[in-house]
């Protein structure tokens, strides 16, 4: 068997790579691992977050870095797949030997990577992955009392709280009686729909029906017809950007005019949504976690600097999450007093209490969750081609456009 030799030769090549570990210099930059989808269908968001991390890195290092040392982010591409995300986390922890992880975009990928971080007892600051169980120790065979053994921290609210701002707007202003739910059939979509159904029950809104679809659907009319038939006051949609645009375009073609359309963040706040849906995007509400006009110090500056550096349409809440996560990482590392061990970083994370461009960050325990940053969410609405912050009232930069005159805005 001649190719036996070949096999051995090939395996010997792998021997070379076994020395590929890295030697650490005590004065070099402090490297933190960041897991994001940089290729694949979620690459658009992943790239936005990476840009935001880089922007924050440049600012932090320009202002003296971490007690004199520079901060650096080692990015690993999770390609939007849970198994790749796991491998990426393992590589960052074992090969790059980072003492801390950040990032995490898709729910399922973040959860899979979190399991690795937990196993290797490496602190992981999640900034976008939103499924509730990520900060529920029960999902990791722990209890809520095991805070000292639990290494996952999350800055963004979980998906069940995405609509908390929307909740008050609905109960105080719109007061719809019925709702129809449309969601994509992913973790993010199904969990989001379930938690909104709970919210609806609390507010006395009747759920008339729920429809799931798979991302990339061409024809949403069957789904929209089922919704139109039951005449809901409100349609609540959990969709990424292009599906969101297709939904609204076809809703307009069907002349389906509920009192209001509401998106659950994700795709509905993206400029690409407006671009693709055109007039059909007008009047659509969306829950959001952030908006550049919020009176949070640094929010507008981040938005402007991002456009200055990368051009394009500017970041939405995903960018703000990543940008602020970088500042949280820097803040945590500064409080480590030179000892960047995993345990020390975890202790510093526990004591985090700071202000970021995304809002205040503090990790607390409530309900089944621990290490979860609790924050308010907002409501935006597309008005004349621009995304306006309409709720809460005291922070809004535009009045709510309601009732919606579809004849006018869909013309």
């Amino acid at each position: 068997m001649k190719f036996g030799k070949l096999l051995i030769a090939l395996l010997s090549v792998s021997f070379l790579f076994s020395f590929n570990g890295c030697s650490k210099k005590e004065t070099g930059p402090i490297k933190i691992g960041v897991i994001l989808p940089l290729t694949g269908s979620k690459a658009k968001f992943g790239t936005m977050e990476k840009n935001a991390y880089e922007l924050a890195k440049a600012e932090i290092n320009a202002k003296g870095g971490i007690n004199g040392r520079k901060i650096d982010f080692a990015y690993e591409d999770d390609t939007g797949k849970p198994d790749v995300g796991r491998a990426a986390a393992e590589k960052l922890i074992n090969v790059d030997k980072v003492p801390m992880l950040a990032g995490g975009y898709s729910s399922s990928v973040t959860f899979a990577a979190a399991a690795v971080a937990q196993q290797y007892r490496t602190p992981f600051l999640v900034n976008t992955g939103s499924v509730d169980k990520i900060t529920q120790p029960a999902a990791f065979n722990l209890t809520t009392k095991d805070g000292d053994k639990f290494y996952i921290y999350r800055m963004n609210p979980p998906v069940s709280e995405y609509a908390s701002g929307l909740e008050t707007m609905l109960s105080q202003v719109i007061k719809p009686k019925t709702v129809f739910l449309i969601h994509e059939n992913t973790t993010f979509g199904t969990k989001g729909a379930k938690s909104f159904a709970k919210t609806a029950a609390k507010l006395g809104i009747k759920v008339l029906g729920t429809e799931a679809y798979s991302s990339g659907t061409v024809d949403f009319k069957p789904i929209l017809l089922n919704a139109k038939k039951v005449k809901p006051d409100m349609v609540y949609m959990i969709s990424y950007v292009m599906d969101a645009a297709m939904l609204m375009k076809q809703a307009r073609e069907l002349n389906f005019q509920p009192k209001l359309y509401v998106g659950a963040g994700a795709g509905f706040t993206m400029p690409a949504f407006k671009e693709n849906a055109g007039k059909a995007s007008e009047g659509v509400f969306s829950a959001t976690l952030w908006h550049q006009t919020l009176p949070i110090p640094g929010a507008k500056a981040f938005y402007d600097n991002y456009i200055k550096k990368y051009g394009g349409d500017g970041p939405d809440y995903h960018g703000a999450e990543a940008y602020s996560a970088a500042y949280v990482v820097a803040n945590v590392l500064k409080r480590c007093n030179g000892n960047y061990s995993k345990e020390n970083i975890k202790k510093a994370l526990d004591k985090t209490d700071m202000m970021t461009a995304f809002g205040p960050v503090k990790f607390t325990s409530y309900g089944e969750k621990i290490h979860q940053n609790k924050m308010t969410t907002y409501v935006v609405q597309w008005q004349n081609g621009a995304l306006k912050l309409v709720w809460p009232k005291n922070l809004a930069n535009a009045p709510i456009y309601y009732p919606i005159d579809y004849k006018k805005i869909w013309k």
Binding site: K44, K221, L225, K249, A272, G278
Partner: protein
């Protein structure tokens, strides 16, 4: 009733689009006897040609068909001449080598598109995107209607080509018996190259007329490759009438399934029909109608 009518109209119109996607595949499968796994990717290439023409040159997506179709036609001819045809002569254990070649071609095309255009979603905005007629509560999307009419014209054109021209006769002869056709003086090699080109040109047309309705990214293709299989098997290999009925049956099954059963299983309905037809009606609808 309104809902039934809307599902019917919706299904019919989408079916027209599926039909052109299936038409190209049916032709290629009928003559080359291979599954073209690069089918959706060739559609993606045509869509990027149209999108670029619209984005950089301001050419209306419907007019850009004069760019996207020839481009895809010559690209496909090149691929089949230099990558697929040589394999016929090659001695290999599995006859599926050509199919696997199309997998490789597909991968390379997708990655080239990603390299040139990034993974961002692209779409075209025209005066007619999102326009619809309201017919007594039933909405008819105008771009979809246009695509439907074009698909009927293309089907008729292909039917004429296959049935009434010398070239068509040669193609049909090659499909029936490659060896016999060569003995009759038909250059089987030329015919296969040409057929792959024509089949790809059809899907290029489909992609171009699809662009104003949908959106575009490098991985847009595979889903439509899968639909093309279902349509081809449903309609029968090499059958133009079969492809259009197959396309419409598939779209109706999807639409009615999603409306009245569960939308989560939408993509499975077609596949189930597909397996049933494969097993119980091996020749597809063609074996019933004989055209």
């Amino acid at each position: 009733m309104e809902m039934f009518l809307q599902s019917l109209i919706s299904g019919l119109l989408v079916g027209g689009l599926y039909a052109i996607i299936g038409l190209g595949m049916s032709l290629i499968m009928g003559v080359l006897k291979i599954i073209n796994l690069a089918h959706g990717q060739l559609m993606m290439v045509a869509m990027y040609v149209s999108w670029s023409a619209w984005n950089y040159l301001g050419i209306d997506p419907y007019l850009s068909v004069v760019l996207s179709v020839p481009f895809t036609f010559y690209l496909a001819k090149f691929l089949s001449k230099y990558l697929l045809n040589p394999l016929i002569e090659k001695d290999s254990i599995l006859p599926e080598n050509q199919v696997l070649m199309t997998v490789g071609i597909g991968m390379v095309l997708v990655e080239l598109a990603r390299f040139l255009f990034t993974s961002d979603y692209r779409s075209v905005q025209t005066s007619y995107t999102g326009q619809a007629w309201d017919l007594g509560g039933v909405s008819i999307s105008i771009p979809l209607l246009i695509a439907f009419i074009v698909s009927l014209l293309l089907t008729a054109g292909l039917f004429y080509l296959l049935m009434k021209t010398d070239l068509g006769r040669s193609i049909r002869a090659t499909a029936q018996d490659r060896l016999a056709a060569s003995l009759m003086g038909v250059s089987a090699e030329k015919i296969t190259v040409l057929t792959y080109g024509i089949g790809s040109a059809l899907i290029a047309a489909a992609g171009t007329f699809f662009l104003p309705i949908f959106y575009l990214y490098p991985d847009v293709g595979p889903e439509f490759t899968a639909k093309a299989f279902v349509i081809t098997i449903l309609g029968g290999l090499g059958s133009t009438v079969g492809a259009i009925t197959g396309g419409i049956v598939l779209a109706l099954a999807e639409t009615f399934g999603a409306t009245y059963l569960s939308s989560g299983y939408r993509d499975a309905y077609g596949l189930v029909i597909f397996l049933l037809v494969l097993v119980f009606l091996p020749g597809g609808l063609k074996s019933l109608t004989k055209v």
